[in-house]
């Protein structure tokens, strides 16, 4: 789902040597990349059997459970960085999980598809739900049960009293800082608890 450029751009946000928890870690590619290139350690969380197997094959620590059950397994501030890359949009308890992400991690990095990206707006203007490279599903079979925009996440973070350390868009693996809500397919937030 997450392309290589996006993965590498997000990896830049993780300080070298960090202890990382990757929620919805997929096949473990991100964690393996962080371990190999940035000396990070940590765990992935996955629900899918095939992904769990892929992680074990890569030698990435993986814990199999459903994120909708919450993060009770993990203690407060037990990780330097908690990643939630293309995960939030699949969660029933997206708001709780956003808070949990910054409880468990000193820093939470959330990336998700920005529904306000201009091609999506154009599609809606034409009266149809967007089907793009970033949002490849039809409205009736999409696993993305939370459809939000870059601007929406700012409001949700504020509502939960979370501090936005940084936020920007990613498009083609490049950072978009000017009008990201319009110009970027992926929205990225770096969140912490208020200091």
């Amino acid at each position: 789902m997450t392309d290589l450029n996006t993965m590498h751009a997000l990896a830049q946000l993780v300080p070298p040597g960090s202890r990382v928890l990757d929620l919805g870690c997929g096949d473990g590619a991100m964690l393996a990349h962080l371990q190999q290139t940035r000396g990070c350690t940590g765990y992935g969380v996955e629900i899918d059997d095939a992904n769990v197997l892929a992680c074990v094959k890569r030698g990435v620590n993986v814990i199999q459970f459903n994120l909708d059950e919450g993060l009770a397994l993990f203690g407060d501030a037990s990780f330097d960085v908690v990643l939630q890359i293309d995960t939030l949009q699949h969660l029933r308890n997206a708001e709780v999980m956003l808070r949990e992400t910054v409880r468990v991690g000193r820093v939470g990095i959330v990336a998700f598809p920005n529904f306000a990206h201009w091609p999506n707006r154009l599609s809606i203007l034409k009266g149809r739900m967007p089907v793009t490279k970033r949002l490849p599903y039809q409205w009736y079979d999409t696993p993305n049960i939370r459809v939000g925009t870059h601007a929406d996440l700012a409001a949700l973070a504020a509502r939960n009293g979370l501090q936005v350390q940084d936020s920007f868009g990613l498009q083609g693996g490049h950072m978009v800082r000017v009008m990201p809500n319009l110009r970027a397919g992926t929205s990225v937030y770096k969140l912490t608890l208020p200091r």
Partner: protein
């Protein structure tokens, strides 16, 4: 394709070579101090090994057994049909735990009834020449005692460090205990369908089984050997209870449902001519209206399992092993704080549980995972959505086998590096 073919053929060739198991025995003269304060002297451990210990002695995997299993983990006995080891689907040439790469050891635990010193063996403390066996006087052994005994065997085999310790259920408890008792001797631990201790419900099941045995008039306070009796009735019931708890409700319904035994159905069919009302409703017509006969398939199955078990299993062993299960609780020395207890474990862990296992539920495995996470240990955890209950840990499930295989692949890379 051309390049891949020889490798495939090689792999196929290796996995089709039958693995021959050869039981061995090691005698120990020095007393083994036990957790209870008692000790065992002049004891033997039965064991089997598969594969070859490498020159660095770094590829050893010790497999711990659960309640009714033994040192015969893998392979078959030469010339004996249906003699495959209890974890033969997991361990062997080309299997997830590949004996072409690993030197695998199975040990029969003390107090068991498959060769290692147990209650049916001569008590060295009995008057000379009396020939008296231990019986009920066999000391109560714990998971920790078993691990100490296993460690002594490794000393004899010249194995300082295990590539991996592995076990399911009670075997998983031993594997976990290894990582606490001998943290420097274990590089990886694979703990399947296990728990950090037994719940009250679990102890309750064990107690019902023990009462069934102890109250059997043939038990004679555990000294039935000298009476020439075997408390088979108690053993049967103990096994029946066990079997119920090893299966899930769904699997039991799928396998047996409300089916009546074939014999009963046939008999009813004979009584009721085809086309008659009774024949059309076999579920009614087939009842025998008895209270003591076997009518349902599940009854037949449980009785069969009980009968089979009572033929080979020792009653005192059943009491000892269930007690070892009850006592295991590494957190108890730390005020119930499992995270503190597991601080000693330094190896890497793989935990596996099965969603329908209610005897050793996923919740219990997660407690171990959490304690390891609290200690920042390397741990992976697979929760397999299998329908078979606790028994799933002995069955073939491609997801389960795949994860264990991949994990051992990475262990093998570390061994050869």
């Amino acid at each position: 394709m051309f390049l891949a073919l020889p490798g495939f053929l090689l792999g196929f060739g290796l996995s089709s070579t039958p693995l021959i198991a050869t039981p061995q025995s090691q005698h120990f003269v020095d007393p083994l101090p036990l957790q209870s304060g008692a000790s065992l002297r002049d004891y033997s451990l039965s064991f089997e090994t598969y594969g070859t210990l490498n020159a660095e002695r770094s590829n050893a995997v010790l497999v711990c057994h659960a309640l009714n299993a033994s040192h015969h983990v893998a392979g078959s006995y030469a010339g004996q049909a249906n003699s495959e080891g209890w974890w033969g689907n997991m361990i062997g040439p080309g299997k997830p735990v590949d004996t072409n790469r690993f030197f695998v050891i199975g040990v029969n635990n003390l107090g068991s009834c498959f060769g290692s010193t147990g209650p049916m063996h001569a008590n060295p403390d009995a008057p000379t020449g009396s020939g008296k066996v231990y019986g009920a006087d066999f000391p109560v052994v714990t998971v920790e005692d078993w691990v100490n005994a296993q460690a002594r065997l490794l000393d004899v085999l010249g194995i300082k460090t295990l590539a991996a310790i592995m076990g399911g259920s009670l075997g998983g408890m031993q594997a976990l205990s290894w990582t606490l008792q001998y943290p420097d001797r274990v590089r990886y631990a694979v703990v399947v369908a296990s728990a950090p201790n037994l719940t009250a419900e679990n102890i309750a099941f064990n107690e019902v089984a023990r009462r069934a045995i102890v109250t059997d008039p043939d038990f004679h306070g555990g000294h039935f050997y000298e009476h020439g009796t075997v408390p088979k009735r108690g053993l049967r019931i103990a096994r029946m209870i066990g079997h119920i708890t090893y299966l899930s409700d769904d699997v039991m319904n799928e396998k047996f449902g409300r089916q009546l035994r074939d014999a009963v159905v046939a008999q009813a069919g004979e009584l009721a001519p085809p086309g008659s009302a009774a024949h059309a409703v076999p579920s009614v017509g087939a009842y025998k209206y008895t209270t003591q006969d076997v009518e349902f398939q599940i009854e037949s199955y449980l009785r069969y399992q009980g009968d089979k078990f009572a033929e080979y299993f020792d009653a005192n062993t059943y009491l000892l092993i269930t007690r070892a299960l009850d006592y295991f609780d590494p957190a108890s020395a730390y005020g119930g704080d499992l995270s503190k207890a597991l601080a000693k474990a330094t190896c890497k862990f793989l935990l596996v549980s099965f969603t329908t296992d209610w005897r050793f539920s996923p919740k219990r495995s997660r407690e171990i995972v959490k304690a390891l996470l609290d200690n920042q240990r390397d741990v992976s955890y697979a929760e397999i959505d299998a329908p078979h209950g606790h028994d799933a840990f002995l069955l073939d499930d491609p997801r389960y086998m795949g994860v264990v295989r991949s994990y051992f692949d990475s262990i093998a890379q570390g061994v050869s590096a």
